[in-house]
Each structure stands twice: as structure tokens, then as C-alpha cells.
């Protein structure tokens, strides 16, 4: 894609645009897409560490058989809040942060289309999580029915913090929906002249599709938590057989949201990887059109496969077969993506800076998670896998070594553009190798204990699982510590320590975001660039 910059981009002129508000109000009232992007990313980093600490409580308790540290009820709160914090607090806001920063820069827009909405959608989030985390300190504790909060465990049998949990989920939903609307409107209306649909960078495409998924399913989540609320406090019986309701219906509605939700957490990562691989292979992305089509097909199929989360509830054979076939079908577009990435590397001229290393790790480890997903789709085998650590291994491979590695790759990739400073390659490579090794020590053995019969969400286990659980706990601790290197690397850049980054940053980088100076000025593309 060739671009021609109009006057706005000469460095000298930018000095005029640099007056940004100072102090706390800059952040509280900010409507600048870059500031809000930064806020989202920092918030998500904080949540990553909070969610990680909860996971460390889980891993500490599971280090040895027997109950050592926490009561089983508190353990259930840990698994529940860990899941909620990581899904809604770490992964989703990180992607929104990246979208805030990069979508306007990639499409040549001066800002997001709805800057005030943008401010609101961010500041709702800290409130939502303050409410959610405060339940940990209430009598009866935080929600403990798992992040999937199946009824009636989450209704009739839950603690009184359920009302706060429902409120927090509503706020997260509102924030996500506002963010998604903003991104859609920005992409529809703010593209620079000449930035046609099929010239959009893949990160923009994947986010556009993700935003539509968010708009379609977050309201369904809002609906289902509302039903939980009224069932618990207002005497309705949506999920209570006694009043003519059905607990299984909860699972159908929840997973109608839940399955698209897992693609919400991976599609933007596909976009990041699709930006990084061509840069470091110095070769255009292979099969751009098929990438777009594959992303859209994954999104559409995601509405038809929710039943594979609930094969054991006793569905008719025909329904089980339908969900099995539909789920297997998702492997096709996902495979196309992986093949396209490999084909992009093929006969390229590759270098292996840290964003590329994380992207390569993403491809390998996400594919492992994808393949275990394919195994999980096979209904008869799923009866053995369902609700075991095999499932835990599967979704941590796609979410940690998939989504989180994708986010980290993206942060390293764009950090020089944001801060104007190159991160320390040595520190970042150390971070990469420590993460790669420890994350596999943490999650790979989960496949084995799961297959051998260890159920998920248990605070204590039979003796046969002891050795691998100890190993996994050590891996978890190492993985957590490794992320401190990441924080250090990012903080260095934010403080301006390091080599000055060039405007293009990476030799093979293509796209509008690399045409502007590094660090990206406070205001960019006030006169739209023309894309040829």
C-alpha cells in the first residue's frame, strides 16, 4: 500500500499540536484516542497482575494434595474472579486499548469518531472492577460459581454478593458496547480518502468484526445476568425448575454469548499477528482477502457452536451431531489463517526481533490450543474431556499463549511508535524466553492431568496428580515473575530510557502508522492523508 502524506505530517508543524492538558485532568477528562488507549493498556496490565495473583492463590493451593492455604469456598471465589478479571479486565480492555491507539493511526483518522463516549467507556471499567473486586471482602465472599456462573449455583445457592457481581458485569458490558460502537463508527466514517475496505490493515478488519460480535452478544450477557438477578432476588424462575424454568436454559443463553466471546478475545490477536509477520518477513501478507473472509466466517460460525460447551447436559443425538460438525468446521477458516501466516514467512527475509518471536510463539502455541479444541469438538471423546484440566489446558493455550502473547507482541511492536524509544532488545528477549519456557511448564502438563481424570475447579486432588501439579505451580510462579520483566521494559520506554526510535521503526513496516513521527504526536492526521 503506498501512501502520500499531506502537509500535516512535517515534523516542524507538529510542535504546534503538542500542547496537551497536564496533570490528573488530562487523564480523567481525556478524549484523545492515544491517552485513552494508554489508559486501557495500563488498566489491563494492572488487571493482568491482579488476575495473576488470584491464579497464584489457586496454584499455591494445588501445589500439593490436601488443603494448605485456603478454604474450598474461597478457592472457588479465586477461580471465579480470576476468570472474570482475566477475560473482562485484562484481555478485552487490552485489545480495546490497542484499537484506540492504532485504528485511527492505521486508517488515517485524527481521533476516534466519538471521543466523549470513548472517555466514558474507559472510566466505567475501573468502577466495574472496583465493585467486582470489593465482593472479595464482603461477608460470604465473592461470586464462587465459576466465571460461567451456572444456575442454580449462581442464583438460589449463591452468596449475597451476586447483586454486586451482576452490576459489575452490566457495567463491563456497557463499556464494551460503547467501545465497540465507537470502533465501528470510526472505521465506517473516519477512513482517510482512498482507504478502501480492501486496503484496511487486517488489524482493523479483525477489530471491526470483533466489534460487531461484541454488539451482538454483550447484550445477551446483560440479559442472562439480569435473569440471574431477578431469579435470586425477585422471585422469577427463569432457571428454577420449581417455577417452570430450566437450569439448562441458562447454559444455552450463556454460551450463546460465551462462544462468540472467545472469538472476541482472539480475532484482534489474529490482526496483530497479521501485521507483525509481514513486517519481519519483509514480504506482503499472503492471502489478504482469504484472511478477511476467514475472519468473517469464524465470526458467523461462532453463533452456531455454543452447544459444544454442554455436550454432557443430555442433548438429543441430532443436536450433538450438529454442534460437533459445526465446531469441526471452524477448524477450516482457522487453519486457513495459520497456513497463510506460514506462507507469508515462506521465502521471506526474516529477522527475529521480539515482536516476531512472540508472533512465532503465538502461531505454534495457538495452533496447539486449536488442535486440542478440535479434539474437544469430537462429542464422544468430549464426554471424557469435559470439565477436566484438558479443557483448562486448551483454553489457556488459546487465551494466554494466544490472546495474551498476541497482545504482548503488539505492545513490543508498537511501543517504539508510542514512546519514541526502542525497548531494550536484550531485556525483551529475556522476557520472551522466560515466558515461553515457563508458560509451557505451567500449561502443558494440564493436558496430561486432564486426560488422566483431574476435574477442573477443585481445590484438592487424588495423589496420582501430585507431581505434575507441583510442576505446574512452579511454572505458574515463573511465568508470573517473567512478566515483571515486561513491566520493566515498558516502564523504561515510558520514561524515555533507550535508543531513539526512527519513524518507521522496523525495516519492513508498512502502513500509515509508520508514516508519522516517533513518538506519535498528540494529534495526528488532522489533515487526512491520501491513500493511493
Amino acid at each position: 500500500m503506498s501512501t502520500e502524506q499531506t502537509g500535516a505530517l512535517h515534523p516542524g508543524e507538529h510542535l504546534d499540536h503538542e500542547h496537551k492538558p497536564r496533570g490528573i485532568t488530562r487523564w480523567l477528562y481525556s478524549t484523545n484516542h492515544k491517552d485513552i488507549g494508554t489508559l486501557y493498556l495500563l488498566f489491563s496490565l494492572a488487571m493482568l497482575f491482579i488476575g495473576g495473583s488470584l491464579a497464584m492463590v489457586i496454584r499455591a493451593e494445588l501445589f500439593q494434595p490436601g488443603l494448605q492455604f485456603v478454604d474450598p469456598h474461597f478457592f472457588n471465589q479465586m477461580t471465579t474472579v480470576h476468570g472474570l478479571v482475566m477475560v473482562f479486565g485484562a484481555v478485552m480492555p487490552a485489545f480495546v486499548g490497542l484499537a484506540n491507539w492504532m485504528v485511527p493511526l492505521m486508517i488515517g483518522a485524527p481521533d476516534m469518531a466519538l471521543p466523549r463516549v470513548n472517555n466514558w467507556s474507559f472510566w466505567i471499567l475501573p468502577c466495574a472492577f472496583a465493585i467486582l473486586l470489593s465482593t472479595l471482602f464482603m461477608e460470604g465472599g465473592a461470586p464462587a460459581a465459576g466465571w460461567t456462573f451456572y444456575a442454580p449455583l449462581s442464583t438460589t445457592y449463591s452468596s449475597d454478593s451476586t447483586a454486586f457481581f451482576v452490576l459489575a458485569v452490566h457495567l463491563m458490558g456497557v463499556s464494551s458496547i460503547m467501545g465497540a460502537i465507537n470502533i465501528i463508527v470510526t472505521i465506517f466514517n473516519m477512513r482517510a480518502p482512498g482507504m478502501t475496505w480492501m486496503k484496511l490493515p487486517l488489524f482493523v478488519w479483525t477489530w471491526l468484526i470483533t466489534a460487531f460480535l461484541l454488539i451482538a452478544v454483550m447484550p445477551v450477557l446483560a440479559g442472562v445476568v439480569t435473569m440471574v438477578l431477578t431469579d435470586k432476588y425477585f422471585g422469577t424462575s427463569f432457571f428454577d425448575a420449581a417455577g417452570g424454568g430450566d437450569p439448562v436454559m441458562f447454559q444455552h443463553i450463556f454460551w450463546f454469548f460465551g462462544h462468540p466471546e472467545v472469538y472476541i478475545m482472539i480475532l484482534p490477536a489474529f490482526g496483530i499477528i497479521s501485521a507483525i509477520i509481514p513486517t519481519f518477513a519483509r514480504k506482503p501478507l499472503f492471502g489478504y482477502e482469504s484472511m478477511v473472509v476467514a475472519t468473517a466466517s469464524i465470526a458467523i460460525l461462532s453463533f452456531l457452536v455454543w452447544g459444544h460447551h454442554m455436550f454432557t447436559v443430555g442433548m438429543p443425538v441430532a443436536a450433538e451431531l450438529f454442534f460437533m460438525y459445526a465446531t469441526m468446521l471452524i477448524a477450516v477458516p482457522t487453519g486457513v489463517k495459520v497456513f497463510n501466516w506460514v506462507a507469508t514467512m515462506w521465502r521471506g527475509s526474516m529477522t527475529f526481533e521480539v515482536p516476531m518471536m512472540f508472533a512465532l510463539a503465538f502461531i505454534v502455541l495457538f495452533t496447539i490450543g486449536g488442535l486440542s479444541g478440535l479434539m474437544l469438538a469430537i462429542t464422544p471423546a468430549d464426554f471424557q474431556y469435559q470439565d477436566t484440566y484438558f479443557v483448562v489446558a486448551h483454553f489457556h493455550y488459546v487465551l494466554v499463549t494466544g490472546a495474551v502473547f498476541g497482545i504482548i507482541a503488539g505492545v513490543y511492536y508498537w511501543l517504539p511508535k508510542w514512546t519514541g524509544v526502542m525497548y531494550s532488545e536484550r531485556l525483551a528477549q529475556t522476557h520472551f524466553w522466560c515466558s515461553l519456557v515457563s508458560v509451557n511448564i505451567l500449561f502443558f502438563p494440564m493436558h496430561f492431568v486432564g486426560l488422566a481424570g483431574m476435574p477442573r475447579r477443585i481445590p484438592d486432588y487424588a495423589l496420582q496428580f501430585a507431581d505434575l501439579n507441583a510442576l505446574m505451580s512452579i511454572g505458574g510462579l515463573l511465568f508470573g515473575l517473567s512478566q515483571l520483566l515486561f513491566v520493566w521494559g515498558v516502564v523504561r520506554c515510558m520514561r524515555g530510557v533507550g535508543d531513539k526510535a526512527s519513524d518507521r521503526v522496523w525495516e519492513g513496516a508498512q502502513g500509515l502508522e509508520w508514516e508519522i513521527p516517533s513518538p506519535a504526536p498528540y494529534h495526528t492526521f488532522e489533515t487526512p492523508p491520501v491513500v493511493k
Binding site: 464482603m138 465459576g146 443430555g314 450433538e320 515462506w346
Partner: protein, 387 residues
């Protein structure tokens, strides 16, 4: 930059060796210790089919992974800038893209055929020889034989001291139960599953059975086991605090042994009913000894061995007004439970003497020293009189 690239490459190569070695090691480990690191083959025709299916898909996935990662690593080694690679500029090929859409479809069809056949065989529970109603509740299983007048609860038998690390853990830690489900060999046994409170999931890996027990609704599944033995499983669906302490154990006996067992059970349950009806008075010592035992298995899970409960979740009994003053209220709540809470109606699970003993124990333990004695007859009267 050059230095970084070289070091990265060195690392990439090194990592490939490492990963390859790790993979080989894990495969060998998996083969050597199958049941510890892989799905069990199980003991039924269905479980062996499921195992076969699992391994087939696993091998297909391994082959796919080797091809894809192989190409990728080949490319990483050969097409790197430091090796002087000059980037090609191709960015698509309709032919190859169609090919790698079509090939996976074929592979998926190959996987789907045996999966479909296995699934249809698994879901046919008709024409069974024996039917057992399995009811899950927090946190125990109840088995009721529809063809015999036998029903009982099955709860974790691992002593609390082992869980809290005060005693050595034995080999069957968290697996053994007080009374396993007993079924005969060579018979098609149908399981009907339901639950009393929240959703549970009844799982026996050796039979490849996992089915949710859903409150208010009924599910079914079946098995036919030819090999006698004791098989262990677990509750697989998060069902509250003690979800991890709700094992399933199934003892498969030869047909003759099963019939003998059934006859014995029928006689035992009959005798228990007679004893219950007689409601013989017990001494304080008898009540307290039996009460402590019953409390440990039925009550301590929630109310804790210390009687202090868990604030905000399970009420404490130590010093509670109900336990120290209101005798009829105390009997009523133990006998009939409390709606919408984990407090169950224990009249269904315990005999009148056990109920009387545990109520007496609660009224005199942990410094509650009320000196009250509740006799089986008091409990029987409460059950007769109703809530």
C-alpha cells in the same frame, strides 16, 4: 541490530532442539505411563471405542502439527535475512488456498465418521437389564435401584484429618466412598440421573460416562461392564464448596455376587427400618459417640468440625440460639432442611437414632453444654408430626 538477529536465531534453533526433545520425552512418558498421563482405555466396549477415537484424532493432530510447524521452522532457518534471503513478493495463490481449504475438510470428514458412529452407540440406553436412579446433592450421591428395594447415600470416606494434612494420605485419597454403587457384570445397566439442588455431573472415566445431573430433570446413560473391580470417578461439574470432595465409586461384581449383595442389602435396610420404628432410647454416651461420627460425615463439611461454620456462607452452630435453646426448631431444621439453602432434609439420609444422636451432639459439643438429650422417639414424633 545484527547481533540481536544472530542471537535470536541461535535461540530459535536451540529452542527447536529443546522443543523436539521435550516432545519426544513427553511422548515416551505418555506411552510408558498411559493411565497417569493419558485417557484411560477403560473397561467397557464404549470406553475403548472412545479411547481409540481420542488416539486417532490425537495422531491426526500430531501429523498436522508436524507438517505445519515443520514448514514454518524450515522457513525460519532457510528464509532468514542473515542467511541472505531475498524476500519474494507473491501474496496469494487461488490454487493453493483452495487446496488448503479442501484438505482440512476431507480430514474432518474422516474424523467425523467414527465419531458419529460411536456417539449413536453411546446414546442408546434402551433394553437395559437393571436401572439405577442416581441423584446428586451437595455433596454426595444417592443411588436407588429401581429393580430392588435398595437405596442409599454414597459419600467421601477419606478422613478429614488426611485432607487437612494431619494424617498420612492413603492411596485412595479423595477417591474412596463409604458405600460404592454396586452393579453386576455383563448386564446393561441404565442410569437415570437427576439432582436435588444444583447441577452435578456423574463421571466414571473407566466407563466413558459423564452425564449432568440436573435439578428437576432427568437424564439417562448406560454401561455394560464385563470385568469385576472397583472403578473410581468424580463429580465433574462445579457444584459449590465441596465439589472436589464428591467422588463416585462403582463396584462391579459377578452376577452371583451381585445377587448375594442385593439380598443382604434388602435384609439390612429392612432391619434398619424396624430398628428405626422401635426408636429405642439411648444413653447420653451412646448419643454423643454416634453423634460425633455422624456430625463428621454429614455436617462438618459446612458447619466445620469446630462448629463455627463459615461466616456469611454456612452459619455457625457453636453458641447459636437455635442450637442452645430451641429444641423443636433444631430438630425441625435437621429433619426437614431449610428451603433454598444447602441445609438438606436429613430425614432422608439418616436414621432416627442417627438424627437424635447428631442433634444431641450439636447441643453439647464446643461448649454448647446444654445437657439436652434428644431421643430417637422425639425425632420420630417430629417426622410424624410434620414440619
Amino acid at each position: 541490530m545484527r547481533h540481536h538477529i544472530l542471537s535470536a536465531l541461535y535461540s530459535a534453533r536451540y529452542s527447536r532442539l529443546c522443543l523436539g526433545g521435550l516432545f519426544m520425552f513427553l511422548c515416551q512418558a505418555a506411552i510408558a505411563q498411559e493411565s497417569r498421563y493419558n485417557m484411560t482405555r477403560g473397561v467397557t466396549e464404549i470406553s475403548q471405542r472412545v479411547y481409540g477415537l481420542h488416539m486417532t484424532i490425537f495422531y491426526i493432530c500430531v501429523v498436522i502439527a508436524i507438517i505445519v510447524f515443520g514448514l514454518m521452522f524450515w522457513s525460519i532457518v532457510r528464509h532468514r535475512k542473515s542467511a541472505g534471503a531475498v524476500p519474494a513478493q507473491f501474496h496469494g495463490s487461488m490454487k493453493i488456498e483452495l487446496l488448503w481449504t479442501a484438505i482440512p475438510v476431507v480430514i474432518l470428514v474422516v474424523m467425523a465418521i467414527p465419531a458419529t458412529q460411536a456417539l449413536i452407540a453411546m446414546e442408546d440406553a434402551s433394553e437395559s437389564d437393571l436401572t439405577v436412579l442416581v441423584t446428586g446433592s451437595q455433596w454426595k450421591w444417592h443411588y436407588k435401584y429401581l429393580d430392588y428395594p435398595i437405596e442409599y447415600f454414597s459419600v467421601l470416606a477419606t478422613p478429614r484429618a488426611q485432607i487437612s494434612n494431619e494424617a498420612e494420605k492413603d492411596a485412595l485419597y479423595l477417591l474412596e466412598v463409604d458405600k460404592p454403587l454396586v452393579i453386576p457384570t455383563g448386564k446393561k445397566v441404565r442410569f437415570l440421573l437427576t439432582a436435588d439442588d444444583v447441577i452435578h455431573s456423574w463421571w466414571v472415566p473407566d466407563f466413558a460416562i459423564k452425564k449432568d445431573a440436573i435439578p428437576g430433570f432427568i437424564n439417562e446413560t448406560w454401561t455394560r461392564v464385563d470385568k469385576p473391580g472397583l472403578y473410581y470417578g468424580k463429580c465433574a461439574e462445579l457444584c459449590g464448596r465441596d465439589h472436589g470432595f464428591m467422588p463416585v465409586a462403582v463396584e462391579v461384581k459377578s452376577e452371583a455376587d451381585f445377587e448375594a449383595w442385593a439380598a443382604e442389602q434388602v435384609a439390612l435396610q429392612e432391619a434398619a427400618r424396624t430398628a428405626d420404628a422401635a426408636a429405642t432410647p439411648m444413653s447420653m454416651d451412646e448419643l454423643m459417640t454416634l453423634g460425633e461420627k455422624v456430625y463428621g460425615t454429614a455436617c462438618a463439611v459446612c458447619h466445620q468440625a469446630s462448629g463455627e461454620g463459615l461466616p456469611g456462607v454456612f452459619p455457625g452452630l457453636k453458641g447459636s440460639a437455635m442450637v442452645t435453646a430451641d429444641i423443636p426448631g433444631h430438630i425441625r431444621i435437621v429433619v426437614f432442611g431449610k428451603a433454598g439453602t444447602a441445609m438438606q432434609a436429613f430425614a432422608r439420609q439418616l436414621s432416627t437414632s442417627e438424627l437424635a444422636a447428631v442433634i444431641t451432639y450439636e447441643r453439647n459439643a464446643w461448649g454448647n453444654d446444654t445437657g439436652d438429650m434428644v431421643q430417637p422417639a422425639d425425632v420420630a414424633a417430629a417426622i410424624q408430626g410434620g414440619e
